[in-house]
Subunit: 224 residues, 2 copies
């Protein structure tokens, strides 16, 4: 079965307040984006990887690829103004056969084990979306009003999310909707029954500079 | 205005798989529980603190208090079989006047600043519950079915949660309900309109051994 991965790093990370988009920042001396590339290559030697980057940062990334020996490990697509458009641009660069994983570059701690697991589930069920439970109390807010939500029913959604490549390409022909915060929503909106699978609490999403510190600690703990 | 705090460490932490309950484990060389005590004392020199512990571990904690110079900083109440009962036992030991903060010992990184802020909001509005936004996509699961949830409306609830002491004691006279995962739910069920305030992403809840590693990294980043 043909396997491909689209690693989405299309955002300029204006929330991050760093000079460079977060996917270019160094985590234990290596660019954040490089971790995801390496994890997919460790999981499957023959996987085809497309990295989606902001158009304005592609040449900078190509330089980094020379510096960090990443040349030849992936192809590059230019991002769009939304995550939806970025994924769509990535999908246009892969053959619509077999299974495709969509992964956020903001999750550099994804393990080869989680990648193998999501592909394995997707082989059997047609899709795989990793989720973890919520350990905190949750409230739902509307204006000044808010009420408790039963957290036992909620799951936090991670990436990689794996789908049949041909189906996903079709799903991304839908008109854009602001509610599309991940690929499971795009696929669901196109009629797919998405299969949930157990995610990994260590597979954190880096959204603030503090999260980079956390990621370094988790990396150190992993290698010790 | 009289101020008190109940630090809840009533659980035996069977999920943690460590020999000792997590509140006794060392974080950068100091017991997890000691951090919360210190944060409340830094925020208010005259605050009255009650720590709720499993009955079986009280003498062990008293030993640790000698080892870590924590004697005289707090009083101890015996925990119950639920968090609800543990808080209730703690409330029985404080005078029902002024404001009371309920705080989970599993959040050792609470800052004096967040404590000051929650008390300040509670002085003005009668209660204060710190919350943070959700940065990940969320799904709601029911049996085999699941659907996306609008994460922009959801908030993760932290502690300390501050209330009028007299009101909270009355609220805890309600019959126990399994849905009571925090004090905001108990207070809301007793008729209070709970005031939300901005929490702190660093104020993480320690639920797994990996979270201890994260907490150490955050502590190191804080002091550097």
């Amino acid at each position: 079965l043909k396997k491909s991965a689209i690693i989405v790093a299309g955002g300029l990370g204006t929330r991050f307040n760093a000079g460079l988009p977060k996917q270019f920042l160094l985590l234990a001396g290596i660019p954040v984006l490089a971790y995801s590339i390496e994890a997919f290559r460790s999981a499957f030697r023959d996987i085809s990887i497309v990295v989606v980057l902001p158009q304005t940062h592609i040449s900078r990334w190509e330089e980094m690829c020379r510096d960090y020996s990443l040349e030849g490990t992936h192809r590059i697509a230019a991002g769009g103004s939304t995550r939806f458009q970025s994924v769509k641009n990535g999908l246009a660069m892969i053959e619509p056969v077999g299974l495709t994983a969509i992964h956020d570059a903001a999750r550099p701690l994804v393990s080869p084990g989680l990648i193998l697991q999501t592909f394995d589930i997707a082989v059997r069920y047609g899709s795989a979306v990793p989720v973890i439970p919520v350990t905190e109390s949750v409230r739902s807010v509307e204006g000044d009003q808010h009420k408790p939500v039963d957290r036992s029913r909620l799951r936090l959604v991670q990436t990689p999310q794996v789908f049949m490549a041909s189906f996903l390409r079709k799903a991304y022909e839908q008109p854009y909707n602001e509610a599309f915060t991940d690929d499971a929503m795009v696929a669901g909106s196109a009629g797919a029954t998405v299969r949930l699978t157990e995610g990994d609490p260590v597979n954190i999403k880096i959204t603030t500079p503090g999260d980079l510190t956390i990621a370094e600690a988790l990396l150190a703990a992993r290698s010790s």
